[in-house]
């Protein structure tokens, strides 16, 4: 029977062969092999991608098509970043923004989660306020700045308020979307087990929606970080701490593309770091615990 040949994947019984196969993007590798390789590829690959982009950028700049002050090269930006670093501005800005970001995001989670859970569980509230919250989500953060300045003056409260208005609706919507995708069977089991409304929410709905919720949190973080930047850009100076958004805006005011690009790179870097350090491991653990990891490219 000529079709009966040894299947290509299985022919290679040794682990080394398995590894080379994995590099070939095969999605069938076993858990054990996968686990060992993670840390390398998770750090090296993004780094490699980053370096490739950097080289492309340098190459474009060295073609000399644009004035160097308009399109600075990586080296120029590095120089201006270094200067900011030495002046302490960069650290101060990162620290200020990160601090605000973490506080604001934490508060957003604490506020948004119960609201989201409530809305996802109580149809009347969901119907009444769901559209409003989706509407709030599409309202640009900058729209809040004038009002926030009037209400809170030029204080950190303004910045936080703008962040909340960006992050909370997004977290609420993420949680609701996660809850909507729960297989109804889980609720039925909860009901049979005699869960009260509250027990159902805490013991069934929240854990079942957790992967979707974490996805919502990621988007919520994106919203709150972006809102923070917007707030810092518009409401900067004086008694307000000097954050990354302020740095970006300052660079723009001074027509200094070096500072602008430095600020963008730092913002990008913070975003990537939060993704890699906070969300990726949480998501990974969640998915693995539920047996959802097999075949995923995560």
């Amino acid at each position: 029977m000529p079709e009966t040949v040894t299947s290509p994947m299985l022919k290679s019984g040794t682990e080394d062969d398995m590894r080379s196969l994995e590099a070939g993007l095969d999605s069938l590798q076993s858990d054990a092999v996968e686990r060992r390789r993670i840390d390398f590829s998770r750090v090296l690959l993004p780094l490699a991608a980053f370096i490739v982009l950097l080289l492309a950028w340098q190459f474009y700049v060295s073609l000399g098509l644009r004035r160097r002050d308009l399109v600075p090269g990586p080296l120029d930006v590095l120089g201006s970043l270094g200067a900011l670093w030495q002046a302490g501005t960069a650290q101060e800005a990162v620290w200020t923004s990160l601090q605000r970001g973490i506080i604001g995001f934490t508060v957003s989670i604490v506020v948004g989660t119960p609201i989201g859970l409530l809305l996802s569980q109580v149809r009347l509230l969901r119907r009444a306020f769901g559209p409003l919250i989706s509407g709030l989500q599409v309202l640009p953060s900058v729209a809040w700045v004038p009002a926030a300045i009037i209400w809170f003056g030029l204080t950190d409260a303004t910045v936080y308020f703008v962040m909340f208005m960006g992050a909370i609706p997004s977290i609420i919507n993420g949680l609701i979307a996660g809850v909507d995708q729960i297989p109804p069977q889980y609720r039925r089991v909860g009901q049979i087990l005699g869960a009260s409304r509250w027990e159902m929410a805490v013991n069934v709905v929240l854990p079942a929606a957790l992967p979707g919720y974490v996805g919502g949190l990621k988007q919520g973080w994106a919203f709150s970080w972006r809102s923070l930047m917007a707030a810092e850009i518009i409401a900067m100076g004086g008694s307000l701490g000097f954050g990354l958004g302020s740095l970006l805006e300052q660079g723009r005011q001074l027509s200094d593309m070096g500072i602008v690009m430095s600020a963008i790179l730092v913002i990008l870097f913070v975003g990537i770091a939060v993704e890699l350090v906070v969300f990726a491991p949480v998501e990974k653990r969640l998915l693995r615990g539920r047996g959802l990891l097999a075949g995923s490219t995560r």
């Binding site: 069977q185 089991v189 087990l193 005699g194 027990e199 013991n203 854990p207 047996g291």
Partner: protein, 269 residues
């Protein structure tokens, strides 16, 4: 067709659909009373129609029927998860324990935590919860895989966890939807014995669905046969003590039920 039963007040005055109920349970209070119950999904043909049955306290009732005839739907209605389209029913106010056809374990909890959750929602204290869940899982031969997640368990193991969980609920009424379908003959035999022991010890009322006629005769005191499209109770057998002790009598009853089941299915062939 809607008929409210409130005037009966659940006092057991509703006559059983079957006059020949075994003597031992005839005098007990009815736990589940179904009256002219009908169910259809959306605008489709009725799945259940005109179901009448009374199940008394402490009874062990087996529900037989062709695949897709509405057995799970009936259990859903009895458990309160679904409402009937017509007719009325009486069920215990505090609901029923329910072992679903698919194991329906929570994938984010280990086998043990799944069982513990049932205990927790019943209000059992933390320490007792732990001991009791281990005990129940050992009862279903899963002492060695307690800390595995559902996706790491085999189909039969998942079903056994679900069995342990339904026993953990400790409700007077227990509904079981093909509880042993994914188990090998031997494990099944062992669990039959365990289930019978639990039933006798606790005096629970059990309604269980099975496709195995012998299993129905082995465990049930009464066997109900549901027809297909629409589902109606078309036949009912009492399994007496004689059937349990005498293999020949049991075999005859099994053959009888199988013949009747075959007839029912023929009608739709």
């Amino acid at each position: 067709m809607t008929q409210l039963l409130s005037e009966h007040g659940g006092t057991g005055t509703v006559p059983s659909a079957d006059a020949g109920t075994g003597a031992e349970s005839a005098g007990r209070a009815p736990v589940v009373v179904l009256e002219n119950l009908g169910k259809s999904f959306g605008s489709g043909a009725p799945v259940l129609e005109d179901i009448n049955a009374t199940i008394r306290q402490g009874e062990f009732v087996a529900l037989l029927g062709a695949s897709g005839c509405g057995k799970s739907t009936l259990l859903n209605i009895i458990s309160g998860l679904d409402g009937p389209s017509s007719g009325a029913l009486e069920v215990p106010a505090d609901g029923a324990a329910f072992m679903f056809q698919d194991a329906s374990l929570f994938p984010w909890l280990t086998a043990r935590r799944n069982v513990e959750l049932a205990l927790k929602l019943r209000g059992v204290g933390r320490a007792e919860r732990k001991a009791r869940s281990v005990e129940l899982l050992e009862l279903v031969n899963l002492g060695h895989s307690m800390d595995k997640r559902p996706h790491e368990l085999s189909g039969g193991m998942r079903q056994r966890v679900a069995l342990a969980r339904s026993l953990a609920q400790d409700r007077p009424l227990l509904l079981m939807d093909e509880p042993f379908a994914a188990l090998d003959a031997i494990t099944r035999d062992l669990l039959h014995n365990e289930l019978e022991r639990v039933w006798k010890e606790t005096g629970r009322t059990i309604i269980f669905v099975t496709h195995n006629v012998r299993e129905a005769v082995r465990l049930g005191q009464r066997v109900l046969l549901l027809s297909s499209r629409p589902g109606r109770v078309v036949a009912e057998w009492n399994v007496s003590e004689e059937h349990r002790t005498d293999a020949g009598a049991a075999g005859a009853l099994t053959a009888d039920i199988t013949t009747r089941l075959r007839q029912e299915i023929r009608k739709h062939a």
